[in-house]
Amino acid sequence: MIQPKLFHLSTVTLLVGVISGFSSPALAEKTAKQFVETNCAGCHALSEPESSTTTRIRERKAPDLYYAGNKFQEDWLIQWLQSPTRIRPGGTFFGQNVVAAEDRDIVPKDKLPEHPAFNASEAEVAASYLMSLTPYDELISSTAYVPKPISGAMGRMNFTKFKGCVACHELEKGYGGISGPEVHTAGSRLKPEFLYSFIKNPQAWAPKTFMSNLHLDDSEVQKLSDFITTLSKE
């Protein structure tokens, strides 16, 4: 895969920003927007696409970021952008990378390029801009989720046997389905309200996505969210 040439924030802009503590918010915002548009828009959607179709799901190069501010924890973004690790073991859409092997379909590791990494100031600037992308405030504010401690064994049974989530998600490295994002890091990656709201109604966030809405009631969503949150603390 061709990596787009990365545009580095000029030292001057950064220095100005650092010295003034971004005292001119308008300038800081403009710079951050420019940085993200230059370095990320080649792969990621930064504004809502005009229409959501299954073709777009199969062909997009990277997950959508236009609601990043409603989805991610800022601390996680800043860390991850400096040392990115794989989140979807099968890639953004497994179908782009799948090959039929002897036993079963697999996604060969060399099909998945490394994510570009950024330095600390770039990561902070990018994260601050991403956190300003919040078209779904409504979905977050209408979710009253407070994580509670839960028995790991029960939570695991629920995630695997009773709800079947494990068919698409790895609940530990190397165990589970590979078409969806790994969930063992989701508790530190995602806002708790997003986690809950996405399980409750994935299509409210990503209309054509390939996760089903299992029509779970509030207490079931609570238990699954608690289990996933607990996984990240282990």
Binding site: F94, A100, D105, K161, F162, A167, G177, S179, Q203, S212
Partner: protein, 117 residues
Amino acid sequence: MHFLTRIILITLISAPALAESEATGKQLYNTYCTQCHGIYGDGWGVNTRDIEVLPRDHTDSGEMSARSDQELFKAIKHGGQAVNKSILMPNWDANMSDAEIDRVVRYLRELCNCEAP
């Protein structure tokens, strides 16, 4: 204009627009089903490494010809549990309209190269 001619004309004119906005049964299958049922529909998708119940082989004409279109539709729309099968077969009612599920059922008949009983 003759009524039938008019219908045919309307169909012809609107056909290209439809083709662009509507996903085919195969496209829907490739988006939602191949992750478990495999890119050839043989039941060996990328998600089967650790799965406890293997997905149905949709190319198995013996098994597939024992299912009516209504049964297939029900399994897809409401999930495995609705037809006394595993919960590992999810429900797709929030992903697809009834018309889209119908197209997927027709595509399954192409995959198995078989008819309903």
